[in-house]
């Protein structure tokens, strides 16, 4: 049965972006439409999520072409969870950007591009067709190119060159993989491929294709050794933009990896150990990178790379429990990384500095705010009972159970580095006293802002921190959800059946 509700998150963001285009010069209207629209998007996502979680996987066949011949949209628990998380963090970022993004940048289509980006994300999460996934990836990267160049500063343009080249290369490799896959199996529907890939005689070529997918998505999700473009470009745009990049863009790569490797290429021992080693190296190299940084944004960018390793590691072990840990970490990470960069934006507004050597005194000036910022920072480390703690426990247990001691060591190392980096940051930015700070005339400082603007700056952080707290304190609910998703990833028969069941045209 075709249910058109699936396409609603995509269509809604699309129409929102088009409506915003009509208000090109009217920034106030754009802000209101964008925030109100994002609230509606959350409601839609909750509706879709509850329908799928309580009942079953729903599908939509575009143009009523029976699968596998047409483009299929599939909403299972995994994809709807991702859509929900994307809509939650995009709501926070929309509110945050309405006060932090400069007027000149808003006049050049910030908000329309923002909603095109979210549309691309929702599309990527909901599609059941591998080529369609490629198209959604392109929608995402084209919108992100607008973001990364918006403003046209020297560092931004230089970051954009690297970002553009690497993303183009990743897309090309992804497309090459699709071409080989189509040549091998003659299908593009992921559910259909999951059956067809097993009966291909030339399994060697299947392995090569799997590696191509791993490289393509690996560049996008910044796994070792393909991450070097990320710390060179993610720190250049403004805080709100970095936060949406950090929270969602690398995670869509992880989503695609999980989908492709659970549905099409079931990892064999070689693949598993390859992914596990890559995960360990990602954790170690990202952590070491963060260790030497004094620039707040660069440090946070390396933290993104480091924490990608946890998710890849769970995928590499490929047991139901490890995948549940990965999903839990993914849920936690999307919220906390978005929040982290928003916190970074507020810290910059308070201090006017990006180098943490020159920061200080936040705890003195704003004790309540400091307490609020402690939630995302300590969730990131995973101090119990905050949200990062639970998936790590799960991943550690599983690496013991599957005797992946290298990964276990890397997980512990990554956690320690995160602990060290964040506590050092805390000590520098929050506790250290600074003597007569220099005020820069061209920055609007936090204490110079009117109350309403401050509220828009802080509320998104409060909102995301509450979600983080819920993930940490209501961990049993999130575990139930992630176990459910992991079970769906291990046993894909329900997914395949939902897509390929005899769907007679009406």
């Amino acid at each position: 049965m075709t249910i058109n509700l699936i396409i609603l998150p995509v269509l809604f963001q699309f129409s929102l972006a088009i409506i915003l285009l009509f208000f090109w010069k009217n920034i106030l209207a754009q802000k209101i439409i964008s925030i109100a629209g994002s609230i509606v998007a959350v409601i839609i996502a909750v509706g879709l999520f509850s329908q799928v979680y309580e009942q079953r996987i729903i599908t939509m066949q575009a143009g009523n072409w029976i699968a596998p011949f047409g483009i299929t949209f599939v909403a299972d628990t995994f994809s709807t969870t991702m859509v929900l998380l994307a809509s939650l963090s995009s709501l926070a970022v929309a509110a945050f950007s309405s006060v932090t993004i400069k007027k000149a940048r808003m006049k050049y289509g910030y908000f329309p591009s923002f909603h095109f980006l979210i549309m691309g994300l929702n599309g990527a999460f909901l599609t059941g067709d591998i080529f369609n996934l490629y198209v959604w990836f392109e929608v995402i990267i084209i919108s992100s190119f607008v973001f990364i160049t918006l403003g046209g500063k020297k560092a931004q343009i230089e970051g954009a060159v690297k970002y553009f080249t690497l993303n183009f290369l990743a897309s090309t490799i992804f497309l090459t993989a699709i071409a080989v896959l189509y040549g091998l199996a003659g299908s593009l529907n992921m559910a259909d491929l999951s059956g067809k890939i097993k009966i291909i005689e030339n399994q060697g070529l299947v392995q090569v294709t799997a590696i191509l997918f791993l490289i393509g998505f690996g560049i996008k999700s910044a796994i070792f050794p393909l991450y070097f473009w990320l710390p060179d470009s993610y720190h250049t745009p403004q805080a709100a933009i970095s936060s949406i990049f950090a929270g969602l863009l690398t995670k869509v790569g992880i989503y695609a990896l999980l989908r492709v490797f659970s549905l099409i290429f079931i990892p064999d021992d070689f693949m598993k150990s390859l992914i596990v080693i890559l995960a360990g190296l990602t954790l170690v190299s990202g952590g070491l990178g963060a260790l030497v940084q004094t620039n707040m944004r660069k440090m946070f960018s390396y933290m993104i790379v480091c924490h990608i390793g946890y998710m890849i590691g769970g995928l590499g072990m490929f047991t139901a429990a490890a995948l549940a840990g990965t999903i839990f970490y993914l849920i936690h990470d999307i919220i906390v990384k978005t929040n982290l960069f928003l916190v970074g934006g507020v810290i910059f507004k308070i201090n006017g500095e990006l180098n943490m050597k020159r920061m200080g005194g936040i705890y003195d000036q704003y004790p309540t705010l400091a307490l609020l910022m402690a939630v995302p920072l300590f969730s990131l480390i995973g101090i119990p009972p905050l949200s990062g703690f639970w998936p790590k426990i799960n991943l550690m247990q599983e690496s013991f159970a599957t005797s992946n001691y290298f990964l276990l060591g890397s997980i512990i190392f990554g956690s320690f580095i995160t602990l060290f980096v964040i506590t050092r940051f805390w000590a520098e930015a929050f506790w250290k006293k600074i003597d007569n700070p220099v005020r820069k005339p061209y920055i609007i400082y936090y204490d110079q802002m009117p109350q309403s603007q401050r509220l828009l700056l802080i509320l998104p952080i409060v909102f995301l921190s509450f979600i983080s707290l819920y993930i940490g304190l209501g961990a049993e609910n999130i575990f139930r959800l992630s176990n459910h998703i992991a079970a769906e990833l291990v046993d894909t028969s329900a997914y395949v059946q939902a897509v390929l069941e005899a769907q007679k045209p009406l």
């Binding site: 190119f145 046209g152 500063k153 020297k154 230089e158 060159v161 290369l169 970074g344």
Partner: protein, 119 residues
């Protein structure tokens, strides 16, 4: 025919990647263009080449009787061409901007990680 196409695809990939590794920004973009074209040809090649058999059902029959050219790869290529066209247009504007802002087209000169007070 397949062998010719395979060689061309290989050449396009090789020269695309070679040009991407050069220091010049212009060569980088040309490399990206070549790589994009290489992928499109690869899809075409792997979709299976069939000469002169369009997938059109004759009026007298209800299904296709014999081997026919698969229309799916062509649809994929069309989509990919449109996408890479957009990306290439963006890339050309980007290198123009880079040249204006940075004042060089040498990729080795593009390494400023200067701190900006603009967040």
């Amino acid at each position: 025919m397949e062998i010719v196409l395979a060689i061309i695809v290989g050449l396009l990939y090789a020269s695309g990647i070679y040009l991407m590794l050069r220091r010049s920004l212009v060569k980088l973009v040309i490399g990206l263009v070549l790589l994009g074209n290489g992928v499109n040809l690869l899809i075409f090649l792997l979709g299976g080449l069939v000469r002169g058999k369009p997938p059109i059902i004759p009026a007298t029959e209800s299904i296709l009787g014999e081997i026919y050219a698969d229309p799916v790869p062509q649809a994929l290529i069309l989509t990919a061409i449109v996408i890479s066209f957009g990306l290439q247009a963006f890339a050309i504007v980007l290198i123009k901007r880079t040249y204006i802002v940075v004042g060089t087209d040498d990729l080795d000169e593009i390494h400023s990680t200067e701190e900006e007070d603009d967040y």
